[in-house]
Amino acid sequence: MTDAMPVGDRKPLAPPVDETGPLGWARKNLFSSWGNGITTIVLIAAVVWVLSWFLEWALFTANFTASTGAECRGGGACWALIREKFRYIFFGSFPYEQHWRPLFAVITMLAMLVLSADRRMWNWRLLVIWGVGSFVTFLLMFGQIHIPLSLILFVALAGGGIGLTLRSALAAPSERMAYYALVAIGAAGLVLRFAGVLPSWSIAIAPLSYVETSLWGGLPVTLILATYGLAFAFPYGVLLALGRRSNLPLIKGLCVGFIELIRGVPLISLLIMASVMLPLFLPSGTTIDKFLRAQVAVILFAGAYIAEVIRGGLQSLPKGQFEAADAMGLNYPQKTLLIILPQALRVVIPPLINTFIGFFKDTSLVLIIGIFDFLNTANQALVDPNWAGFPGEVYLFAAFVYFIFCFSMSRYSKYLEVELNKGTRR
């Protein structure tokens, strides 16, 4: 074997053509046996058939330009209906020439949500983002905001109180003094305010014309109900879950009672109670805004469900974690915030996001109390006799928009799961 090449120079033979590349992949995965081959062909044929039918309807024979429903009939999809109605579907009865306001409100809210999805923002920045974002959103939607003195005082009191509870052992003396000062100012101011010494003064920020909530509609309503519903329900749910595991029988009893009561009734009945029963119990002439009532009902309802999800996370923690925290000399708030909750919440991300997605869609139940969220403005577009008879187009469009939101949430949950479990992965 004089012509033999040195071992190091020999090249391995390429595998047969039908074992590599797309062909190889197809052979291995799609046509590995007779049965698999037939299944593949049947399924591909079915997909092509459905897709071609759908594209024919939705694109090739579709009507994008008709000016009335009658012109649209007979052909494929009537997307002209969406073209005619999309502003109503997105923004409802908000004054037409001011639609830029809900548009920017929606953009602000989305920016707020995207920013707070970033882990680097999970500190004091989160408060700033939500504070500024919420202010801008509601200023755009209402047009005018009046901040009463009592609210400012209450925020001072609450801020000081929370600071004292959470950072009592960690804060420098000067920081602690600041908290005490806030609490003192807030408490004293509130007492004076209710005693009638301080006037009922408020800061008025009114750059735009006022638009009442009964004119709100469409996407901003869905986003506000879902975002603020869940933003408030989350801390509330955490408190309920902690309360349910409390050693104090009264707190435990109240939390269990609330959770079971709320979980035992449908959201619709809660909404109807809030909109039909509540006004009858209020003194005559006092009305609470319908939108606010719906928002509170959503918060209470979501809170109970989130509490049960978080309880699952709390129960999954080994007892050693609690005992170790106690052994470190941490007090209850520190133990809960620094040791327990970070671990418990990480476990429950998938069910938590599942609950969020569910509630995002459940907000459309507010139709039964006459609030027009995104799905309901879409419904209203169907009632117009000039454009009647195209429910498919409208619902597909609504479904598409909902899908974008829900799918983003689901992808985010997946990212978060990977991100937060980096420490435990082997």
Binding site: Y96, L215, G285
Partner: protein, 347 residues
Amino acid sequence: MRNRIVAAAAGIVAALIGAAGTAHAGKDLDAVRARGALNCGVGIGTAGFMLADSQGKWKGLSVDVCRAVAATIFGDSEKVRYVPLTSQQRFTAVQSSEVDIVMGNATYTLTRDTALGLDFTGIYYYDGQGFLVPKKLGVKSARELSGATVCVAPGTTTELNLADYFRANKMTFKPVVIEKVDEIRSAFFSGRCDVYTTDASSLAATRAANVPPPQTIDDYVILPEIISKEPLGPVVRHGDNQFADIVRWALYAMVEAEEHGITSKNVDEMLKSDNPGIKRILGGSVTTARASTATSAWDRPSRSPAARTRCGRRAASNTPRPSVDAGRSRLGMAGFVPLRRGNSHIH
């Protein structure tokens, strides 16, 4: 057409019920005035009655009544806040002052008018249960429907009325009971039943908007028989008669104006009309010239209750007749609404 009638009628009523500008108004009217807008509860999207158009503006027969009331009180038909209400909510909303008036297609009934603390102020639509049939069935009257298959929603008075009507006329029918409106409609149009029965307004909407493409609206007819009575009226809180009067007469003025063919476009020519009825409603006749309140313009002064009372007579003698031209310049749209807020002549 209807919009113009609203504008015209609003002007008429504002003139008629000069009371809209008095200092001693009822508490509901005072609240409306203080707020600067009428809170009008409307139903959730029914074509023809109340529906937001592509620009989100509420339009329809029920909406127009609210606009007329607002025009009567404020001289501006745009000063209305529309609050969408479901049928469960509507009465609570008006009881609890969330809205001032409900135009939610509520049927005027004894119980509602007396026991719920509500007042119905007139009737703007006489609804009732009717029958929709395909023309090719060749039926001209509901009496010929014996043996027909009838699409009907379950658990409603509609179902009971249907059975009663057929029994009373010694006819038979096969019911096809379907819960959802969309499904009933598609069942009817696909030929699963010969007849679709529900309120005539809904039948008309179905016929106008839901006939599937190859067929047209002319392939279907609504039979003349109406077998139940569903008068729809505006609802206000019990207790403020003055506000109720405004709502009632804003509605009646529109009816009257429509009968005479008076609109905001032709009101100037109509003022010159020789027709005594038109003269009376527009206050242009000799008999009404001496009257100040439009109540007397509406009714003959001799028969007018307002003119016969002490206040009415004083009002009639003291206050000048509202100038039509002066009013017109103030209001672009309503055209000729003379609003006289300063003159309190009814107590």
